[in-house]
Amino acid sequence: MVKLDIKGTWLGFKRLLPLSMFVIAFGLAFGLAAAQAEMSKLEALLMSGLVFAGASQFAVLELMREEIPLLAIMITTFAINARHLLMGASLYPWLKEIPTAKRYGILTFISDANWAIAAQDYQQGERNLGIILGGGLALWLAWVLGTWLGLVLTQGIPNPEALGLDMVLGCFLLTMAVGGKKDLRVLVIWATAASVALLALKYLPPNSHVVAGALAGGLVGAFWLPKTQAAEPK
């Protein structure tokens, strides 16, 4: 039975708290970069609070010059964030069970980390949507708080890369991928996704590699169906 309740949301919030500590460090780096790009505190906080997608925010800072290329900014934002389209679609069998307003309300907080945990939960038969909402709230708070800290503490901030913090999300997503079911079908899908992503990185327009790799892996999945169905719902 699919449900969304306060208890599940709180549990989701707590599950993402450890990772959120690292997200604060990234928010801090963004706040610092935004201040250096001469954005005001209000602008930087609004951007983190409303856009809530770090990679695209950093990319856009690079594009903000004397003249602002609005169309290029929108295309870059779309390309980097297009992975959300696929993440949302992958949650559809789950989200279709709840009313439209709640469905899109939850999706407002979808991000890489809470999606990755939720997708793994779903495979294991979990049906409480609180992980997406609660986890998303934890990540959002951390991102905005970090941004604010970066704007305020402009001195004495250690370089996040020196501490290896730029690899937190990658390492986290890796543990999520490895934690799922592994069989020959999954390995072939992953190999396809990896090869296509690397080819796209080399030959397709910038920022299109995640979507290209994911779609290729999905196509293999569509033609090579799993023998047994996913776990029955709890």
């Binding site: 900014i73 959300h84 543990t175 999945g221 569509a222």
Partner: protein, 104 residues
């Protein structure tokens, strides 16, 4: 479509980014609501789900510095060995920070 870099222009940029990002967050589910779910579509969805992760991670390893690849390799080995994600991530970060500090 270039704007001169003023305060109001920055707000337009933020509004545009917010709109585009919300479209990506909502669009996948919106489009799927017109697609009938059958076994093939489910196969596509579950294949794509893991593939998003792989397509994010592999280029990080290939494009990043040696320390970045080591972070991912250490995490991979540790999570397979210990089955503890947080410990594995911590190990990955320690190796990365140490590599960057001592080697470059």
């Amino acid at each position: 479509m270039d704007l001169s870099n003023t305060a109001s222009a920055t707000f337009i940029v933020i509004a545009a980014m917010t709109l585009v990002t919300l479209i990506t967050r909502y669009g996948g589910v919106f489009i799927m609501s017109f697609v009938p779910l059958n076994r093939r579509v489910e196969g596509f969805i579950n294949g794509m789900s893991g593939s998003v992760l792989i397509a994010l991670i592999v280029p990080m390893a290939v494009e990043g510095d040696t320390a970045a690849s080591l972070a991912l390799l250490t995490t991979l080995v540790m999570v397979l060995w210990l089955k503890k994600p947080l410990a594995a991530i911590a190990a990955g970060l320690i190796v990365t920070a140490a590599w960057r500090y001592f080697i470059g």
